[in-house]
Subunit: 327 residues, 3 copies
């Protein structure tokens, strides 16, 4: 099983140049070559992400994390990546007051100002398009750590990295995605990234009201992939190489009642895992806040969601290094 993508030396150099100073705003904006390069650099970062080696690659560099909604997990992942490469972090923990109406400046101005302090900015915000807005003002690379329902490119990349590490390829696999296909930015980011690779089969498993958007389906099909839809996880699990689980998130619904209707539709249990291939892997962005992914599955060697945490550090190390020209 070969773990590198084919390309010649000259291309690598061009690709690396291509990342320097670049914003990482959206999964859809990345080319196949860029995705491959990120995954390859992530692989080089593994010993540092796994705490086996210490690095000074980003010594003297400063990361500003601007989180306008809480996400300790994602922030920790980026900050860990930065400090394990020898860099430093400044962080806007006062986000609420900062964004108060009384004293609010434009995100453009914030980008101007924070980029005078930092060498790279990682931003999360509950509203679509806000990260791109800040990036317009920024003189340094900005990485999108989730802008509401819109995008979450680094989560998608770490999912691809987990799959690639397991199978040695991103071509010709059967991806099962279960949960909220309509609103999940994780699923959308995964599809936007995976569509660049060789013919695969995408099986979207969701209740009628949370079906995959038609455009996304067509996009995958026109890229040469096969797309299947079902409401029944059990009937398809035996065909999958990857089971990508996403929560049915209350915050995406208009009322608690609407949410309750879909809660508990799916359950990944030890019983279910018996029906899956021995080589299938289960991935999940976490946190686990309901019974959709049962604790008993943790013991199964096919459960990769905790390993994904470390993979996320490797991928974010790769991105930080690449956009600052140290990839």
């Amino acid at each position: 099983m070969t773990k590198t993508f084919q390309k010649d030396e000259q291309n690598i150099t061009l690709l690396m140049m291509n990342f320097i100073g670049k914003h990482i705003l959206s999964a859809t904006a990345l080319s196949k070559e860029e995705i491959e390069r990120i995954l390859e650099v992530a692989k080089e970062m593994e010993p540092f992400a796994r705490k086996e080696k210490v690095s000074d690659l980003l010594k003297g560099k400063v990361l500003a994390t601007l989180f306008f909604e809480p996400s300790t997990r994602t922030r920790f992942s980026f900050e860990t990546s930065m400090v394990r490469l020898g860099g430093s972090v400044i962080s806007n923990y006062m986000m609420k007051e900062t964004s108060s109406v009384k004293k609010r400046e434009t995100l453009y101005d914030t980008g101007k100002v924070v980029s005078a302090f930092a060498d790279v900015i990682v931003m999360r915000h509950p509203e679509r398009g806000t990260v791109a807005e800040l990036a317009k003002g920024s003189m340094v690379p900005v990485i999108n750590a989730g802008d509401g329902p819109a995008d979450h490119p680094t989560q998608g990349l770490l999912d691809l990295y987990t799959i690639w590490k397991q199978f040695g390829t991103l071509d010709g696999l059967t991806f099962g995605m279960v949960g909220d296909m309509k609103f999940s930015r994780v699923v959308h980011a995964e599809c936007a990234l995976l569509k660049h690779f060789g013919k695969s089969r995408f099986v979207f498993i969701a209740p009628e009201a949370l079906k995959i958007p038609q455009e996304l389906k067509e996009e995958l099909e026109s890229a040469g992939h096969e797309v299947l839809e079902t409401e029944d996880l059990e009937s398809v699990i035996g065909t999958l190489d990857v089971l990508s689980n996403t929560r049915i998130q209350e915050e995406r619904f208009e009322s608690h009642e609407d949410y309750e209707k879909f809660r508990g539709t799916y359950s990944i249990s030890a019983d279910l895992m018996v029906k899956a291939k021995d080589s299938m892997i289960v991935i999940d962005p976490l946190p686990r806040v309901d019974d959709q992914l049962k604790i008993e599955v943790d013991e199964d060697s096919r459960a990769k969601y905790f390993e994904q945490v470390t993979n996320g550090v490797a991928v974010r190390m790769a991105l930080l290094a690449l956009v600052m020209g140290r990839g």
Copy 2:
């Protein structure tokens, strides 16, 4: 006055091994040999805690501080310890949102995830047993920085360190503990640690309603110590080697009225200090929020509570180094 505990070389090596990867969850779980080892390593850490020397002992290591209730003082102490030994820190300052009902994962899962980022975790939480719960999921050492009324082992250790530095021993002393003997986790941690050492006398000074728990008293007695109880500080102060002051904390009472009854029962003043031995020391975990410990006492060379802040850094440096195998 000898400042080292007796043991042979082989034991030291075994002890050090004993700490690697170990959680520090409770004062009661530490053996005499472990306590002595921590104090001895703390002594080696003094020049770094006192800002006289710079260290790279923990370079490349990452501490995650997870504080689910505010305690700037304790968090600063651990974070200072970490960065002065060359390590880095990530911190969950969004604790409230993070622990919201909407998106709550189990502490076990949090332990799994955060331990993928960090090399050591320091956690504080208002509820008993929560730190142990997170530790179950963690792949790296977890240090308890206070779990509600239950325990606060590092505060107890820094109190012992302060006493040991002063007297060169922890045997045969008279300890006066004044304030809230019933609820104070600091007093309980001190007793759990001190009971391992040679015959001492414990004088518990508290109003009837805040008396020392019977079990704790019996535990000290069966370990060979003498235990006295009184409501009157003035009558016993002349006999004490150590006066350990603890606040009567409003948050431990059911109503403001219940609290007001006990407030102001004791007052450590310059007048009172006249009646104490020249060699007696006053210790206090701070903050000072009422009149129980008068400002005028700060000038007295027997007042050690501000020196304790630096001692706390030395002790926490020792613990961080020991659990990561650098002691």
Copy 3:
């Protein structure tokens, strides 16, 4: 254009000694020689502030930022300065709970305790005099990052630095200050610092109700400067070397109605800039939260407010280095 102030070698050494361990509490407390020294060290810090060079000058040193009101911009500036010189930061992001009535200790005690952890403290607080109060307890230098309406010396210093970089001197210039002359601590700090230098002309441009305080005016006049007052920016803009813009801040008014009366009185636009000298510069402490400083002016090379962000890092690097004896 000479960019250094005249003085002999012996004086420099004396001045440097003068800063070690010193608090920076107020613009009014700084002598001409001290101001000059700070600006000269800031100039040496420029390559580090501009991210052109990496420094280990403050390796092993710890900065504690104590912000009792939010100001991400100012905190980022200090923290960036510290980490770019190789130092570390601890930060009291829990400020609200920390300062709760229930558990409040005096600022004197906080100074005692935090100075046991840190090598330098930077503090911001909404109330006048609070920083000086904490400084009384502190065993390490304390820098005022704004204490309510009272003072904000580092903002004043970075404004002077921006002017000095532009003109090579602080003597004989015409300073136009527009906006809130009555409450703006930035304007007051600028005047307190500039009054030490050779005869200049100060033009205060404000509505009647926000006029410059009489004492400040007299202070400048008795120091040999010329002082003019007007309500009309347009009529004087052609005479200015520096236009220092300050927001008319809602929080300084008793009611929203009072504030609305003065909002929008002034507008710095491309049209207005046509009437200004080619060599005039526009400075502004930011954030920009209203229309007083139009976005179209950003393109004008005379607009220095974003460059001021980097200048602020250089000045704060200088102060951190000087008070810790590394200037």
